[in-house]
Amino acid sequence: MSRRPGFVLEVDKSTPPTLFWNGEGFMLETLPEGSRVIYAPEPMKAIDDPYRAIRHALLHPVGDRDPLPALLRPGMKLTICFDDVSLPLPPMEAPDVRQMVIETVLDMAAEAGVDDVVLVAALALHRRMTEEELRHALGNRVYDAFAPHGLLTQHDAEDPENLIHLGQTDQGEDVEINKRAATSDLLVYVNINLVTMDGGHKSVATGLASYRSLRHHHNPQTMRHSKSFMDQPSSELHSSNWRMGRLIADSGVKIFQIETTLNNDTFPSNFQFLQKREWEWSLRDRASFAASSAALSKTPPRIARQIFQSIKSPHALTSAQAGEVEAVHALTTSNVWAQQGVDVEGQTDILTMGLPYICPYNVNSIMNPILVACLGLGYFFNMYRGKPLVREGGVVIMRHPTRPEFHPGHHPSYIDFYEQVLTQTIDPVQMHKEFEESFATDPWYVHLYRTGHAYHGVHPFYMWYWCAHAMAHVGRVIVVGGDAKAVRRLGFSPASSLNDALEIASDVVGPSPTLTHMHNPPILMSDVH
């Protein structure tokens, strides 16, 4: 049976309640009749032999690039960079795509007699990965061959000795990236393109950049004018990265880009009901939902977090393409849309979303309130092409517990951002002006970023800027079931139930609003006409 495309359901009397994620849990909500529910397309068929497909991509590059073996020679300096722990979500079952790609690249390098090879985790300003996370991403064989010799490194955006300033774009944007990568004879970048935002010139220009460089596109102005991040031609974030990427190429940095896409088979078999349409739930699905809901309701949040964070997704490879950055990315984008795109007619007054336990920045960590905001307004809201799902001045209703909890090791500056910045202002422009630099250059945050597993001091600002487009677009944000104090700290309105939220929303959108629910995850992207 062929897979079914995405689907927009109109809720009627016979529609069963709809699943809403709620952090480390989920629940069923009855949506008003006439509401729409957007379901992602079913998972694309996995490639039967991923190693073969990857090898084929490396041997048959697209764009102006020779096959990888032709670019490899003895005595050369080869740097292989790869996406960090923020991708994919949830982390995939072993073997991870990065492992498969890097093993294939290393086999070719070995065949060509290349012996100066360094691996670099392209962290940008994310936290350093742990050994366990690196082993999961790369496999034990790669890890054990490189890490003990210091050849498996993690990009350090605060290491002046290993950064190189390549110049400024015609817009005055500094381009400063990892020196080892930039001065190699060949830079191979291995991507997992979970969403259309990932990859392209953003891989190197962001993943290997310094704060000096990143600040040119990670700021309120650029973020507000990225409509959306998922639609590269309409994204200022990407325009800036593309300018930087072209400068990097013009500087003589030779990049061999490898991009991969995954299907949206997101949850393991015992949680399959999470990616099914509710009216198609089998008896077993219903039993699984009932049992897991009951168990989770009695489970302390800390334990529930551990359970969910241990989930490994059965994501499978659906495409691999390699070669010149822009040519590769065009193919990738098309493949991601094929998996995630859903045609939606018209905008809605109210957009509802149930936020799950994970976002790119809390893998093996805690979803703090700033990340809740970012996941809802930065990511889910921006999962569109054309125009936002919710109309200008409309309302976003998110469901999440929004506990004021932080991982002190991973998110130390988030704590201070929450306590010392959000208490003063929630305006991205004002905080950018008054607070960003002091956080970005704080020696303690720098120390923890470089030596521990902390996100860079400026990172919470970026998460907040990520919301800037949504904040400027919508009339109100309501969080159902969240810690009221934390929700208010974010500048949102707390509601105890969906009905309560709809009543609050009526102040903004009137008494008979249209409502659309994003049934996400599995990830879906709306093509709004």
């Binding site: 090791g409 201070d416 306590e419 010392q420 956080f439 704080d442 303690w444 923890l448 521990g452 902390a454």
Partner: protein, 417 residues
């Protein structure tokens, strides 16, 4: 004439101490404080006058006394029975002269400077501290022609503010109240003077990071004094004044009064770390650990073991911790103080002040009047009670923060209501 009298009674003292473990001020009903009918105290010597209190505040040191938590250090410089109340605005009953030499006609409003120094005690020559104008450091608090008592409100001979029969005060203790100052502003002048003295006694340099621990009356007034004195050049302007304030209303007031930021107590160390651009020895989660740098000056307006430990953890090496809140017997690890050569200094009462922008020494009270007027410190007076409701008043004062209040005072005019 209603008077609240504090008598020496060990059983009652012990009972108050026991009950107050349930909450400050809760033990007043079983303690040594009683409402009695009592005549006005007798003027002890020439230069003394009767003062009829209008408002009289309840201070942290009063609460400590009523709770049975006061240090035994004070035993020899207090005489029983005494009438509490040393934060006083009232009127003089006879023509008199103020401490600054100004004439005071009968009925003039005055604020009491309560320290009973050498001048009040008729001691000639005065001790070196009094000669230098530092009456708070007087060495003769148990001598002279009145009985022991560090201040009015702790001396058996002077009466105190918590009485409708009034008190007696020496002219060296009286300051006329400017017309512009309301009674509620005026009743805060004494604690404002403490705050002024603490601020001008602390080695604050321009651009310093200053942390204020605690945002009860003293913490807020230290913030207010610092804000005003820096704004008029009386002291160097810090780059940052961070206030540890547990309750939302305290945070709001601290910001209004000049604090750069006000945060809950448990967040203060993080803010100090960030603004002093320090590292933390405790790693990402160890914000109770010592900082590599820290605040240049920490003004501890609580005086508890916890606040002193917190202050020592957030002050920079060779920085100063100024103890303004009255401490008692405390157990504190002084290793950081020793290792980092931190100065731990007390800041008590008032006298005269020197410092930036002052050619001569100026009376602390003169500066306190300025601060009270400029900052309208009377806004901290949250409630007044008649003396007859003293149990409610003291309980309110003991739970002021929790109940959204700051300063509680007796309205002595309502004394017999």
């Amino acid at each position: 004439m209603s008077t609240l009298l504090f008598e020496r009674s060990l059983p009652r003292f012990a009972a108050a101490r026991l009950v107050s473990t349930l909450g400050s001020g809760r033990g007043v009903g079983v303690g040594p404080l009683r409402l009695v009918e009592r005549e006005a105290p007798v003027v002890p010597a020439e230069g003394w006058v009767h003062v009829d209190p209008t408002l009289s505040g309840i201070c942290g040191s009063d609460l400590a006394t009523l709770d049975g938590r006061s240090s035994r250090y004070f035993e020899d410089i207090v005489s029983f029975p005494f009438v509490p109340g040393h934060e006083v605005v009232g009127t003089v009953a006879q023509d008199s002269v103020a401490a600054d030499g100004a004439a005071l006609a009968a009925g003039s409003r005055v604020v009491l400077q309560p320290v009973l120094g050498c001048a009040a005690r008729g001691i000639e020559p005065p001790c070196p501290a009094c000669q230098a104008g530092n009456v708070g450091n007087c060495g003769n608090l148990a001598f002279g022609h009145i009985r022991p008592g560090l201040q009015t409100g702790f001396c058996a001979d002077t009466g105190g503010g918590w009485s409708t029969s009034g008190l007696v005060a020496h002219s060296s203790q009286l300051y006329g109240v400017p017309e512009a100052l309301s009674d509620t502003d005026a009743v805060t002048v004494e604690p404002v003077a403490c705050a002024v003295h603490a601020v001008l006694g602390a080695p604050i340099a321009g651009g310093d990071v200053v942390a204020v621990v605690g945002a009860g009356t003293l913490g807020l007034l230290v913030t207010a004094a610092l804000g005003h004195l820096a704004s008029i050049g009386r002291c160097p302007a810090p780059s940052m004044v961070l206030v540890g304030a547990r309750y939302a209303h305290q945070q709001r007031l601290a910001r209004e009064l000049g604090g750069t930021d006000a945060l809950p107590d448990d967040q203060l160390a993080r803010a100090v770390r960030r603004h002093s651009r320090s590292l933390s020895y405790g790693g990402a989660s160890g914000m109770t650990a010592t900082l590599s740098g820290g605040a240049d000056v920490v003004i501890d307006c609580v005086g508890s073991p916890e606040s002193i430990a917190q202050s020592l953890a957030m002050v920079r090496p060779r920085g100063t911790v100024s103890l303004v809140g009255m401490p008692g017997r405390v157990t504190v690890d002084l290793a950081p103080l020793w290792h980092r050569e931190v100065r731990l200094a007390g800041a008590y009462a008032y006298g005269t002040e020197g410092g930036a922008g002052m050619d001569d020494r100026v009376s602390t009270f003169a500066l306190a009047f300025e601060v009270a007027e400029a900052q309208r410190t009377g806004r901290l007076v949250s409630a007044t009670y008649p003396l007859t409701r003293f149990e409610d008043a003291v309980a309110h004062a003991g739970a002021a923060g929790r109940r959204g209040a700051v300063k509680i005072a007796f309205d002595v005019r309502k004394g017999s209501a």
